[in-house]
Amino acid sequence: MSDFDGNNGPDLRAVVDEYRQSLGGRFKWLIPLVVVVVIIGLGLSGLYSVEPGEVGVVRTFGEETGQTQPGLHYAVPLVQHVDVVDLAKVRREEIGFRSGKEGGGQRVDAEALMLTGDENIIEAQMIVQYQVRDPSLFLFELKDPQKTLHVAAQVALRGVVGQMRITSSIEELPDTVAPLFEDDEEEDEANEEEAADDKKADGDKKADGDDDAKPKKDKMPAKKEDPLDKMDPSTDILTKGRERAQLLTKRKLQELMDLYESGLLITEVKLQVVDAPDEVKDAFHDVVRAREEREQLINKARGYREDRVPKARGEAQKIIRAAEAYRQERVLRARGEATRFGSILAEYNKARGITRERLHLETMERILQQVPKKVYIDDQVGKSALPLLNLNQTMTTVPGGAQ
């Protein structure tokens, strides 16, 4: 039936023949129907939709002939090819770890460990967020943009970390310590000299700190008019330098991706983890603890100061007030007694003998009334007999008594 089949028969003919045989000519109308359905199907297959935030890149015979905006579009089948690229979607790439399904990240050592500029090793984990900025570049200029980004992000991060360092010197205390308490001017010369020495020492310290900070700055090739310039390049990557590292990495990564004509826009670079590797983590954490202990000690000392100085001031006030009271009392009493004496003296001068006698007798009266034990010895008796007294109590004689 088909002499031609063997020669150059395309598959189509074989298919058609098969149909003819199986249907046996009874359903001749079926063949055109199938053809029509196939053609309609093919035609309809050219329909495609572009969602909001997406763009369709149309290639006709392989050449880019246009981009389509959100909506329903038609591409001629077999001739046109459409790639729909999501421009709004924020894509994400993980460096140094792979997040599992439950969110817990699994560290990838080969990516996470890197050398710093001072030949230390740190661990870093980073997330890069990016979007497609130019769909044509994204599709046609770089093979495998995602993988490229993954590698370039590592290149960028390592480049940046390689220029940063870990703090290797003790952070100077900000000038917190005990602002010198107003030393009284009445202090000795020795004290003043000492204070002057203190001040000089402080000044030296400050100068040293400045010297440390300056030379490191020169190491970075300066990009002018750059917010990064404000950040000190010598800061520790593990702590304050992290933000700087992020910024630099983002910039560098974008540079690389532009160089590769990736059509990607890096929207964010986030350093998730920047830490010491497990092998030395304890030692690093101990430094943090030691710093906290330092703060604690200082705070405790400050607390002592806060407590001690006011108490001393209070004590000082007490001493001074007591002395003032003493002075006042002494003066007042002296005045009072002086006045009293003056008054008595005035009266005494008017009748000296009588007043003297009276004062003496009155005093004797009071004394003899209040003293319970009294011994009166006659002069004659005292001379003849041995005066023996059983003095079981302190014996006191009136000086005026024995004349």
Binding site: N8, R59, F61, G62, E63, E64, A110, I121, S136, F140, K143, D144, T148, Q154, V155, G159, S169, L173, A178, F181, P221, L256, L259, P277, A283, D286, A290, E293, R294, I298, K300, A301, R302, R308, V309, E315, I319, I320, A323, E324, Y326, R330, V331, A338, F341, L345, T363, I367, L368, V371, K373, V375, Y376, I377, D378, T394, T396, T397, G401, Q403
Partner: protein, 290 residues
């Protein structure tokens, strides 16, 4: 004859399709005739060739990567480093490419060889510190430049050569960790000592100040007391100076009264002036005139 028509149509279609090439945005196309190079089509869109006799070969036009395996390098200061370079490149001269290396895999192999040797040479002139840190950018620019020159003969344009990873060999890593640990321990000690120092500084300063405050107060207190004593002494002296003998008399009386209290025993002679009236009430004895 009628039967021949569909066959002819199919034949025509086949011939047509085999003479048409869709040149994609991502491809170069090389047309060869029995292996002999004819021309290159780099413009995307429709291209044509002679059917049957000519063959179209597609070559990647996009930027490609060549990831050489990590290798150990020796730096100038005899330190060993593991470097893992990656090269980005693209085919810019398809003919050169096709005649010299033909396939991408082969091109990658050649490129890796070039990169490795360039890198080795460059690294041998750098210390490890330079390599890790500041010099890396400039160094890789050199490597890129030379690789680019060397690879040009393959019809390849090298976009850049970068170090993907730069690590220390395992055993060196351990010694770095040991060093880091020692350094941290030093810092921790330093912080603790500094804390103690600052604490002592503040404490002793405080003690000193407190002591000074008290001493000043005591000094002032003594001054005040002295003032009080002086003033009162002056007042007494002025007042009592008017009649010292009378003052002495009165004061003595007061002292006797105070000294002779309930616990005292008084022994008196009847011959004293106090008892002068006891024996001779009529006679007034001689008395001192005040």
């Amino acid at each position: 004859m009628k039967r021949l028509i569909p066959v002819l149509v199919v034949l025509a279609l086949y011939v047509g399709f085999s003479s048409i090439i869709f040149v994609d945005e991502t491809d170069h196309v090389i047309i060869t005739q029995f292996g002999e190079f004819k021309r290159t089509i780099s413009e995307p869109g429709l291209g044509f060739k002679v059917p049957f006799t000519q063959t179209a070969t597609r070559l990647e036009k996009r930027i490609l990567a060549s990831d050489a395996p990590p290798e150990e390098y020796l730096t100038e200061d005899k330190k060993r480093l593991l470097a893992d370079p990656i090269t980005r490149w693209r085919i810019i001269d398809p003919l050169e490419f096709y005649t010299s290396v033909k396939t991408i895999a082969e091109a990658q192999r050649r490129l890796d060889d070039i990169v490795l040797s360039e890198l080795r040479q460059e690294l041998a002139n750098k210390t490890m510190g330079e390599m890790v840190g500041s010099a890396r950018g400039g160094m890789m620019a050199n490597v890129t430049e030379r690789t680019r020159k060397n690879a040009a003969k393959f019809g390849i344009e090298v976009v850049d050569v970068r170090i993907k990873h730069l690590d220390l060999p395992k055993e060196v890593q351990q010694s770095v960790f040991a060093r880091m640990k020692a350094e941290r321990e030093r810092l921790a000690k330093g912080y603790r000592a500094q804390g103690q120092e600052e604490s002592d500084k503040i404490t002793s300063q405080t003690d000193k100040e407190a002591q000074i405050i008290l001493a000043q107060a005591r000094k002032r207190a003594e001054e005040l007391r002295g003032e009080g004593d002086a003033v009162s002494t002056k007042i007494y002296a002025e007042a009592f100076g008017e009649d010292p003998e009378f003052y002495s008399f009165i004061r003595n009386l007061e002292v006797y009264e105070k000294a002779l209290d309930k616990d005292a025993t008084v022994v008196m002679s009847t011959g004293s002036e106090f008892f002068r009236y006891l024996d001779q009430p009529g006679k007034a004895p001689a008395r001192p005139t005040p």
